[in-house]
């Protein structure tokens, strides 16, 4: 790594923080399961979402919100996000539990009851990754998601 590189602890083994909760969250273990991610309309240029779309916002404390393909569809996830929760989305992209695991990103069930019932809600845990690995992970996830193309696009 170059001397000016930002993360000297880049290759440190990630710590699975959510497994330290009591009771521990249930980890997603079906590597083929699709996880849906909403694409904010201000974060797309020339049809390409910003890679940070696949990275948690600051307020999310290192946990990326996704919807489980085993519990919902891309279209239903979009409708819940926009119509019920009142948030904005231009499209729905998908990555698998296995692709996240390949990047040391564990996924966990996180069904919600309040304020809006969302039984398909899940989290991908970025907490343990230093900045450089977060960048790598979000770019790889975007690449895989783009290869699949959007799984649902907002009606014009």
């Amino acid at each position: 790594m170059k001397s000016e590189a930002v993360d000297d602890v880049d290759e440190a083994a990630p710590v699975d923080l959510l497994q330290t909760e009591d009771p521990p969250r249930i980890r997603l273990d079906d590597y083929d399961e699709m996880l849906f991610r909403q694409q904010h309309p201000d974060l797309v240029r020339d049809g390409i979402p910003m890679s940070s779309v696949f990275e948690p916002k600051k307020a999310d404390a290192g946990l990326l919100s996704v919807s489980r393909g085993a519990r919902t569809t891309a279209e239903d996830a979009f409708v819940l996000h926009t119509k019920v929760k009142g948030l904005r989305s231009a499209a729905v992209y998908g990555v698998t539990v296995g692709e996240c695991a390949e990047l040391d990103l564990p996924g966990y069930e996180d069904p919600k009851v309040n304020p809006v019932p969302d039984p398909a809600h899940a989290l991908v845990d970025f907490c343990a990754l230093p900045r450089k690995r977060k960048e790598r992970a979000s770019k790889k996830l975007r690449d895989w998601a783009l290869e699949r193309k959007p799984l649902y696009v907002a009606p014009a």
Binding site: S3, A5, V6, M50, S52, K139
Partner: protein, 385 residues
């Protein structure tokens, strides 16, 4: 002639692509040799406090030579130490030991400066100005990796490390290689000086008669159209982060008008950012400030106009900054501008091999945009191969 392997520095940067070393970059190796020699001399006296002179063998022991052995890709010169006579092992610390230890000590200084920790205790701080000449002509994005003969990697010396080392010298005026854009509008042929407006400030520069014609042409072009810009490559004095004088010129060129399609794309992207209001990201998200947008316009204009880069995809970030992204084949490059901390975080990833690099650059620096351009260009070239 007996020679002993001493250093296998790796010269990185566009000028060294294809394993070549431009002749004007040889001054860096000369400056390194002088630095090692000065450090060795200091070490010798430190460890032989009873000695007043280094002895007549010192000059021979510290003679470093360049041998023709050029690697592929970056330039990999072979620097050997001349061993002029059969050395008899004498008790005590010899001048030959001092040269080898000086090599290690210089490398340790570079590592310490890069990591932001104190320099090794062995290093005589009076020798810090020795780093002034070493690296003066290194350009943004270039570096010298101080590999020892058996080393696969070594401490990396570049402009930012050099600044950190020389920043420890009180009242120092840094001189370093720069590439600056502005209006060249005044000329004094007698004193061989010109006046150049850069970032709204008039700067005086001196030039060699070799560049007289270029300076005259630039001033004449300005007389006809004051919006004409020139770019000057050379060595400049820097105080703090402010460029105060251009002391040497290696190139002067009139800027061509930028590609109108790319410039229009840039303006459209900036307008999109300017339309955002606070809370744009589902209640989170700060709107970019006019100052941030002005900085972005200047930076992107430089990248498109001077560096011939395509306009990046420009996205807002939730803290009021922006993120520029490019794809060059399978290289995914990003530059995230943080207006709060005034830094840019650069990251490059090869999506198939996971080869990557990251860097953080202070946006207060005179060279910030040049450093960003050098980083992106490097991967544009990689992607084009």
């Amino acid at each position: 002639m007996p020679y002993e392997p001493f250093l296998r520095p790796k010269l990185n940067g566009r000028r060294f692509d294809g394993g070549v070393i431009p002749l004007d970059a040889l001054t860096e190796l000369q400056a390194y040799s002088e630095l090692v020699s000065a450090v060795a001399r200091a070490l010798f006296f430190q460890r032989n406090p009873d000695r007043k002179r280094v002895g007549k063998g010192f000059k021979d022991d510290s003679t470093l030579v360049l041998r023709g052995e050029i690697g592929e890709g970056s330039a990999l010169p072979a620097i050997d130490r001349w061993v002029p006579y059969e050395q008899v092992a004498l008790p005590g610390f010899s001048t030959a030991d001092a040269i080898l230890d000086a090599r290690e000590l210089v490398g340790e200084c570079v590592l310490a400066a890069a990591a932001g920790v104190p320099l090794p205790a062995d290093f005589d701080l009076d020798l810090l100005p020795g780093f002034s000449k070493f690296g003066r002509r290194l350009r943004p994005g270039e570096s010298i990796e101080l590999r020892t003969p058996n080393g696969k990697c070594g401490p990396i010396y570049d402009q930012s490390v050099r600044r950190k080392i020389l920043g420890r010298v009180p009242n120092t005026v840094l001189e370093e290689s720069v590439e600056v854009r502005g209006s060249l509008h005044g000329l004094d042929a007698k004193s061989k000086t010109f006046t150049f407006t850069h970032a709204g400030v008039d700067i005086v520069g001196t030039y060699d008669p070799l560049w007289s014609k270029s300076v005259i042409e630039a001033v004449a072009a300005y007389d006809v159209d004051p919006s004409v810009q020139s770019v000057i490559k050379g060595v400049a004095k820097i105080e703090g982060e402010r460029l105060v004088k251009i002391t040497q010129v290696y190139d002067i060129a009139l800027l061509e008008k930028p590609d109108p399609v790319e410039m229009e794309k840039m303006e459209n992207s900036l307008s999109t950012l300017a339309r955002l209001s606070d809370g744009w990201l589902d209640g989170d998200g700060v709107a970019p400030s006019p100052e941030s947008l002005d900085f972005l316009r200047d930076a992107l204009t430089h990248l498109i106009e001077r560096e011939r880069l395509s306009c990046p995809r420009l996205y807002p970030t939730e803290d009021g900054g922006a993120r520029a992204e490019w794809f060059f084949q399978r290289w995914d490059i990003s530059a995230e501008f943080n207006p709060v901390d005034r830094v840019a975080y650069l990251h490059a990833l090869e999506l198939d091999t996971d080869e990557e690099e990251d860097r953080e650059i202070s946006l207060g620096s005179e060279q910030a945009v040049g450093d960003i351009a050098a980083f992106v260009r490097k991967y544009q070239a990689e992607g084009g191969r």
